[in-house]
Subunit: 229 residues, 2 copies
């Protein structure tokens, strides 16, 4: 399915390496490769119809993202994060969100507060319609507004980076029964705290809002895999 993209006869501009990096990321996320698999440069080059050079460039990007590990003179191996590492990342994500919220509470604009209300309303609609995908989209918009309103572009970028990294795992736990409604009510508390410029409360609520996702994820995983790792 992702393959077909590459049969378009070079309509795309820019560097092929960029697209290949994205495509590989997708392949890894979609479980085409398992943890520990070696990514064969030549095979992938043939598969994408390019030479080894752009493949290797894509590898470097993935290695810097932490998706693969490049061992010198040995090759690159996919490195799916283990449960422990995932929980660590969720913990850091919760802290990031908390910081964004704390900073945003003092710096947020009125327009952004309105936008939060709008996104939240869209979230509510999605919940009522039982549309998990729509909720996911609007939820993302909600959080990105807060990242932006932290007033710290560097923090925003780092938070987005981790958010993106956790995307495939975050999605799983959103499917859980009752989580959507709970998440909604948390959103409302967050908006209130931001409106009142209550820095500590906004930070704490956001941190807990994400931390609970990590816990849900933990439960989900440990119920699925009896003794992985």
């Amino acid at each position: 399915m992702a393959d077909l993209v590459w049969h378009i006869p070079f309509t795309m501009d820019a560097r092929r390496a960029d697209h290949i990096a994205e495509a590989l990321e997708g392949l890894i996320f979609n479980g085409e490769f398992s943890d520990g698999d070696r990514l064969d440069e030549i095979r992938l080059a043939e598969r994408f119809g390019v030479s080894r050079t752009p493949i290797r460039e894509a590898f470097q990007r993935l290695a810097l993202s932490g998706l693969v590990e490049a061992i010198p003179r040995r090759g690159v191996f996919v490195r799916q994060p283990g449960l422990v590492e995932l929980l660590e990342m969720f913990e850091v994500m919760a802290e990031f969100e908390g910081i964004c919220g704390r900073l945003a509470s003092a710096r947020i604009t009125n327009e952004a507060l309105d936008a939060l209300q709008v996104a939240n309303a869209a979230c509510r609609q999605a919940v009522e319609a039982g549309d998990a995908d729509a909720y996911y989209r609007e939820n993302e918009r909600f959080h990105h507004i807060i990242y932006r309103q932290s007033g710290n572009a560097f923090l925003e970028a780092e938070t987005c980076r981790l958010h993106r990294r956790l995307k495939p795992f975050r999605r799983m736990q959103l499917q859980l029964r009752g989580r959507l409604a709970q998440s909604m009510s948390e959103h409302e508390g967050i908006v209130q705290a931001l409106t009142n410029a209550d820095a500590e409360r906004a930070g704490r609520l956001l941190r807990e809002h994400v931390a609970v996702q990590g816990e849900k994820f933990h439960h989900l995983m440990s119920s699925l895999k009896p003794a992985a790792e």
Copy 2:
């Protein structure tokens, strides 16, 4: 000075690209290239005595670190962070340290507490000797212990990454008169809070400890450049 390394006739193992990335990093930090300069692949290849390939690999790594910006079909350009971005990074660094401290206060081992005392004693010695370099080294050890004791390897890695990125700028403000002694006394408060497992206090002290570095840096810069950026 860093050039000489490359005249050693291939004693070094591993990939040359790795070393080149480090060397380029050093060159940029040391001010050999200014903001906006284009990094000429061919010139650098000749300079390092290699082909363009490892140079380009090094570029990618630097681009991912944010030191240079790669514009497709145009080349890579040095991207020194402006004052605003630096202050943003210091703000995030302060938050990282605070998080590490808060988490560490609950998770730190007795051995690590002892190691903190040792590092702190070495810091004190360096202050008394007026040895800024030694202080810098021991200070780094002190902080890294706390990162590690956060018990979150992912957080530790991210914090080290930013710490490393801020290294050249952090160093400037340490040279300021009286900063060493102040920094020392802050360290003692931090150790005490960690010993008492006072999470909030440890977090707050560490955050402020770094935040003040950002402020000092701000003052320093604005006193040097009247109206940069």
